[in-house]
Every structure is written in structure tokens, then in C-alpha cells.
Amino acid sequence: MNERDAKSAKIDDRLLVTKAKELFDQSVDGLDAETRSRLNRGRHEALAQLRPGVRYGQWLQWNQRTLPAAGVAAAAVVAVLIWTGRPPVDDLTPPATASDFEILLAEDSFEMLQELEFYSWIDFEAELVDELDTNGNVG
């Protein structure tokens, strides 16, 4: 490319950039009212972050992020408690075992969960009968 061509290309580049900027500015000026309104609302929401009293949005966002995690954590704690069998609900309720946890994880565990107390009672009764039988045998 000779010097004249290079100069011409530079002028072309300048023209292109100028026209691109003009077109872009026109498209910015031509934004519709709804879009401008949404930008305006977004700006005010952003500026609300500066005010110490207005933390609702942040709180909500924090909760949106942390609630699912908190749910998973709570489920994990319940699982660990069931797994380790502590703490028992009361003196009459026998500690759950690993097999209980497996049952709870089974597909049809929902009905089981609803009637958990009933099954615990049956379990307790069965153990009581076994104990009486054992004592009877001994005695």
C-alpha cells in the first residue's frame, strides 16, 4: 500500500467510525418509553443499595440464594440424626437405624413418613413383646 492509499484508507476509517457513532447515537435516542422506564427503575433499585435503611432487596436476594442451601443443610442434619440415631424423640420412641434411613430413601417413602409414628409404635410393641417373652422364658 503506497502513502496515498494509506491516507485514503485512514479517511475511510474515520468516515466509517463517524457514521457508526452517528447511527449508534440515533438508536440510543430512539429507545422507546418502556425501555427508558425500565432503565430508570433499575437505576433507582441500584441506588437504593446505598441507603442503610433499604436492605430489603439485598435481604431477599440473600435469602433466594441461601434458602435452597439451607434446605439441603437441614435435610442433611435430619439424615445424620436419623443415621446416628440421636436424639430420640422421647423415652418411648426407639432410636432409628440405618435400615430406617434406607427405607426413607425408597421410592414409596412418602406414605411411610406420614405414618412414621404408627410404625415406631409397632416397632416398640414388637420389642416389648419380645422382651416379655424373653423375661417369661427366663422367669
Binding site: 484508507a9 475511510d12 476509517d13 468516515l15 466509517l16 467510525v17 457514521k19 457508526a20 457513532k21 447511527l23 449508534f24 440515533q26 438508536s27 440510543v28 429507545l31 425501555t35 427508558r36 425500565r38 432503565l39 430508570n40 433499575g42 437505576r43 433499585e45 441500584a46 441506588l47 443499595q49 446505598l50 441507603r51
Partner: protein, 202 residues
């Protein structure tokens, strides 16, 4: 006046001035964001070709700027704001790429009808309309498509330099690269656009 009353008075005056300073900062940020928001929206929209998504990205950038950089000097806001926005655009493209891969894996369409064909969308030199507005819109559409088709770094450099009017140093901060890289990307972008758009566009 007791010492306690004096302390209370000083504390009240300090609080008053702190409050005034915070209010002033909020007003400055408001002016800055109001000035930059529409151009930022169009720049994001050209990058991702979706206005709703672009609006979300601009709002996220505004929130992050206010939360993290409100204390910085006003001169720093523009490059910082665009750096946040460009990061948002990049993350958006990454998410889209992952989404597309997942959709392909499930055998579903990934385009959402938003694919564009630069050849089909290229301006037709013979198809000029007498309507000036329409011509402008067509020219803008051609420009948008040509800019969108540029490699990412060239696109960023061109839009920040030309559309936002950032200088080389500011663009370097916004892009997170050296000033030399900005110059190279910008120069290549302009040459590429000149080749793509052709003489009829000028």
C-alpha cells in the same frame, strides 16, 4: 454547656455532614448512571442480541458498581462500569454455550429462533428505500450485525472506543488489558468493518 451536651452537638454535626456527603454521592451516581445507562444498554444489546437480557445485565452492572465502587472517584466509574458489564456479557455467553450444549445433548433446538445469517442479513445495495428513517434503521441493522460478528475483543474495543467514547486508557481498564492491545483490537475491528460493510454503507 456540659461536656456531654458538647459531645452530642459535635456528633450531630458530624452525622449531618456525613449524611449530606452520602446524599451528594448518591446524586452523583444517579447522574452518572442516567448518563451512561442507555448507551450501555445498546452496547449490551448489540453483544447479546436480546433486549430483555441486556436490560438485566445493565441493571446488574449498576447494582455492582453502586455496591462495590461508590467510594471511587467519578473518573473511575465509566471504565469500572463497563468492565463489570463486559464481564456480565462474557458470563452470559458462557451460560448460553453451556445451555446450548445441554439442549443439543437432549436433542432440542438451541437457536430459539435467534440465529442470524450475516449473508442473508447483509444490506442489499440495490434495495434502497426512499424512506430516510428506514434507511437509517437498515444501516444500523447492518452495523449491528457486522459488529456482532466481530471477534469478542475487537467488538469490545470498537464499541467502547466508538460508541461510548472511552479513550485508550479507559478502554484498557474496561477490557482488563494493555493499551497496546486495545489499539490492535480497535484497528483490526475498523478494518474488518470496512471490509464487511463495504463502500455502499458509507
Amino acid at each position: 454547656m456540659s461536656a456531654c451536651a458538647c459531645e452530642f452537638a459535635v456528633s450531630s454535626i458530624r452525622e449531618h455532614f456525613t449524611g449530606t456527603k452520602e446524599l451528594q454521592r448518591e446524586q452523583e451516581l444517579n447522574r452518572f448512571l442516567a448518563d451512561v445507562e442507555r448507551r450501555a444498554l445498546r452496547i449490551a444489546e448489540i453483544s447479546i442480541r436480546d433486549r430483555d437480557e441486556a436490560l438485566d445485565l445493565v441493571q446488574e452492572a449498576m447494582i455492582k458498581l453502586v455496591r462495590n465502587y461508590a467510594d471511587r472517584s467519578n473518573n473511575e466509574w465509566t471504565p469500572l462500569f463497563y468492565r463489570i458489564l463486559q464481564n456480565g456479557v462474557r458470563d452470559w455467553h458462557r451460560r448460553q454455550a453451556v445451555r446450548n450444549r445441554v439442549m443439543v445433548w437432549f436433542g432440542r433446538s438451541t437457536s430459539d429462533g435467534r440465529d442470524y445469517d450475516p449473508v442473508a442479513a447483509a444490506p442489499d445495495p440495490a434495495g434502497r428505500t426512499p424512506d430516510e428513517t428506514l434507511q437509517t434503521e437498515q444501516a444500523m441493522e447492518s452495523l449491528q450485525l457486522a459488529v456482532a460478528a466481530l471477534p469478542r475483543r475487537q467488538k469490545e474495543a470498537f464499541m467502547l472506543r466508538t460508541f461510548e467514547g472511552l479513550n485508550v486508557a479507559g478502554t484498557a481498564v474496561a477490557m482488563g488489558c494493555s493499551e497496546g492491545s486495545v489499539k490492535t483490537h480497535y484497528s483490526r475491528a475498523v478494518h474488518s468493518l470496512r471490509d464487511t460493510l463495504g463502500e455502499h454503507w458509507q
